[in-house]
Structure formats: C-alpha cells, structure tokens
C-alpha cells in the first residue's frame, strides 16, 4: 500500500487519481501510524515551503524518517522534493529532511517566476524512476523555487539556468514536476515507482 501524505497543503485528488488509474493501491493519510506501515511513501506538496512545518508538528516527519531508515521507497513531488533538501530560501528557518545538502533557491530575476508549463527533461545517467522515459520528454511544472543541480540529479531542466527536475539515490526519489499532470510520461514514472 502506498501512503500519500496529506499535510493540508494543497489538493491531493489528482495524485490519488493517477495511482488509481495505474491500478496501485494508495491511500491519502495524515496518520503517522499509516505512514509507518506503508510499503511506499509519496509526499506531494504545493505552495510555500513553510507549510512543511505541519509535518513536524503532526508527527509525520518522524514517521517518514523512520520509514526511510527502513529503506521504504519515498517519492517527493514539487515541494515534497524540495523538502528533501536541507532548507529553502523561501523559508530559511524551516528545516528540510536533509537527504541532500544545500538549499532550494528562487529563479533568477531575468525569467518570469513561477515557472509554469511544459518543459523538457535532460536525462543524465541511470535512473530507476525514469526507466523507459526518453530524454527531452515534456513534463508539467509549476513552482517558484528550485533544487540546484546536485550529484544525484538524474534529470535537469533549463529555465533561467539548469536545475534539478529529478533526483534519485537508492530508494529516495524526488521530482520537481507533477507526474500526475504530465500525461503518459508522468504515468510511466508513477508505474516505475510502484514497481520498485
């Protein structure tokens, strides 16, 4: 069973619907006990980085950290990916999960922000999450902050400079775009995650 973690930041119907479509058993939950028992964890998220504070207060951060220790596959989407970093310049006092060192940053002033729409993946090296997805595939983004390109970046995207579209290390995955809104490419990615 996949736990889609609900921390009251945005609407999770679309994520749930996408998992239903590919035949995966997924529940939307705010209950740390359900999260700890899940085979896989998905942390979606839109809006402000500070909304992730709710995760700590609700006991969800501990539940996620415990599961990650047990090698449970974890997929962060959008802010859910950004939260895997140490911090974000959007809310510098809020601590991320710290899977990766560094901070999320704003887009440079020369481009419009938020970055909204379909942009391309530049796939770099092996990825279990992106298996079968060709480089230059289009996916749907909507965000104002971004994860820089790091060692574990498996796909980068260009908009006011290159940034991480997807990161991956062992059983930990993060995508800045919305697979649930990225047509066939996004559904393939979710299938890959489900079949881990």
């Amino acid at each position: 069973m996949i736990a889609i973690v609900d921390y009251k930041a945005g609407n999770l119907t679309s994520v749930k619907k996408a998992f239903d479509h590919i035949g995966a058993e997924a529940v939307v939950t705010s209950d740390p006990d359900v999260v700890v028992k899940a085979d896989k964890i998905v942390l979606p998220g839109v809006g402000h980085f500070s909304a992730t504070c709710v995760l700590s207060n609700a006991g969800l951060r501990d539940a996620i950290a415990e599961s990650i220790q047990q090698k449970v596959p974890y997929l962060g989407i959008c802010v859910g990916m950004q939260w895997m970093m140490e911090s974000s310049k959007e809310a510098p006092s809020v601590k991320g999960l710290g899977v990766w060192a560094g901070a999320c940053e704003h887009f440079p002033a020369e481009v419009k922000a938020p970055h909204v729409g379909w942009n391309q993946l530049e796939i770099r090296g092996e990825s279990r999450l992106l298996k079968g997805i060709p480089s230059e595939s289009f996916v749907y983004f909507t965000h104002s902050y971004r994860v820089p390109v790091i060692e574990d970046t498996v796909a980068a995207t260009e908009y006011g400079g290159r940034f991480s579209a997807a990161v991956e290390r062992d059983h930990l995955f993060g995508v800045q775009f919305h697979p649930e809104k990225s047509g066939a490419v996004g559904l393939r990615l979710l299938e890959n995650f489900c079949s881990l």
Partner: protein
C-alpha cells in the same frame, strides 16, 4: 525549453458543452468528459472548463461534470464559473480540478484570491479578467457577471492587484474579440503581460494558427486559449503546433 501552452476551453451549461459545438459531428455529442479526453489525446496542453450558466441549481451538476471529466485527464485541468467561496473552490478541487478560475467573486471580495492561494497554493488560483477597450483612452476596463456589468476597474491595475493577492495566473479575455475569430487582442495581452510576473493566458478571438503566432509574439502571452476552433476542427493541435514551431516558438510534442 519552456513551451507556449495551447489550452482547450469547454464552455458548459447543465452538464453539456454548448459553445460552438451543436453542429459538430456526433462523436463529441457535447459531453464535457469526452471532449476533454479527446482534446488531451489530440495534444492540448491543458483543459479549461467554464460553467457559463453558473446558477445555484447547477452546482451539483457542475461538480459531477468536473468529476467525470477529471477521472481520465492527466494534464492540468482548470474549472471556473460561479465559484464564490473557499468552500465552492474546495468542492471543485475535491472533484479533481487542479486550478480554479475566479472572476466576479474576486472583484467582489479580493481576499478570496488569498484564501484560495493560502489553502491550495497560488498555482491553483487563477484570476479571470474579462476586459473591454474603453473608447479612445487606450485603456481596458474590467467587466463582471459574464460581461454584463462594468466594474470600473482598469485591467492592468486589477491584474497587478490579483498577482499581489496571490493569483498564480491571469486568464485574460478580450470581450471585443471573443467569438469573432479575427485574432487575439495583442495590445491588451501585452499591456497586462508586461505589468505582471505571473503567466498570462490570452483568450478571445482565435481564428487560426497565425493568431497564436501573433499573441505569443506581439502579445507576449505565455499561453493561449480557444474553444470553437478546436471543437469545429478548424485547427488541429498538431497543425497549430507545427506552425508555431516553424515561427520559432517552443511547443510540446508529440501531440
């Protein structure tokens, strides 16, 4: 590269698509869910569904229509029309929409924009601006209630205000061009687009591919929306995108 978005719009009333499709071939039959799926499969980058009747009695029908249309739609899906409260918006999101578009209600109570942005994220809060040229002044005035009421607001100033209050995108319709097929109002689109940092979706007047080239070029639009030309089959998404690519605009393929 970030592409220019082509958005298919479905105008619905009482659970049926109404605008410009009555005489379409039987395959569509005016069903919003079927048309949404067909447009997505054909290469639309997003789908917008606008409830043009937006009466109280139709709320349940609309929620049901949204749920049916959203079920098999895996591209961004916006719903507008008659959303007056945070609770109305919540029902639409629960039914499967990704963004809501608010118009008259945002002008009546601009805090509604912030309420929706705070709860569902700015990316989910679209403010629709219906604008008309004011005679001789070079300005554009905002109208509400389906274009029936003048608000006295200036379109550029109102768009800036909406952005400040948390809107994630502006859906900008030229009332002068709506339904004419003679092209988007590029002056209006550029005036608003240059004044805000959030994406502007141009609407009203699309009649052919050249109009999209103009609005992405001269109009500085980030996205463009049309209804009739797609329903009537006057323009296919792939032909349109080919022409945009030839004109130097990045678009999403395959479609």
């Amino acid at each position: 590269m970030l592409t220019k978005r082509i958005i298919a719009c479905l105008d619905v009333t009482a659970g049926r698509v109404v605008k410009g499709i009555q005489f379409l071939n039987l395959r569509d039959a005016g069903d919003p869910a079927e048309l949404a799926a067909a447009h997505s499969a054909a290469g639309a980058d997003e789908v917008v569904l606008l409830d043009i009747s937006a009466t109280h009695e139709n709320r349940e029908t609309l929620v049901d229509t949204v749920r049916r249309a959203a079920r098999e739609l895996f591209i961004p899906f916006t719903v507008g029309g008659g959303i007056r409260t945070l609770q109305n918006a919540g029902e639409i999101f629960d039914a499967g929409a990704d963004k809501v578009s608010i118009n008259s209600a945002a002008i009546a109570d601009p805090t509604l924009i912030t309420q929706i942005a705070n709860r569902f994220g700015s990316q989910a809060a679209i403010v629709a601006v219906d604008a008309k040229r004011s005679n001789g002044s070079g300005k554009f005035e905002v109208f509400t209630h389906g274009g029936r009421k003048s608000s006295g607001l200036d379109a550029v100033e109102w768009a800036k205000e909406a952005e400040k209050r948390g809107a994630g995108e502006i859906l900008l319709t030229s009332m002068d061009r709506d339904g004419t097929g003679i092209g988007f109002d590029c002056e209006l689109t550029a005036a608003v687009g240059d004044a805000v940092r959030i994406p502007v979706i141009a609407s009203g007047g699309a009649g052919g591919a050249q109009h999209f080239v103009e609005v992405f070029g001269d109009g500085h639009a980030d996205a463009a929306l049309a209804a009739s030309i797609f329903h009537f089959g006057l323009s296919s998404f792939s032909d349109l995108k080919q022409q945009l690519q030839t004109a130097g605009f990045p678009v999403r393929f395959p479609c």
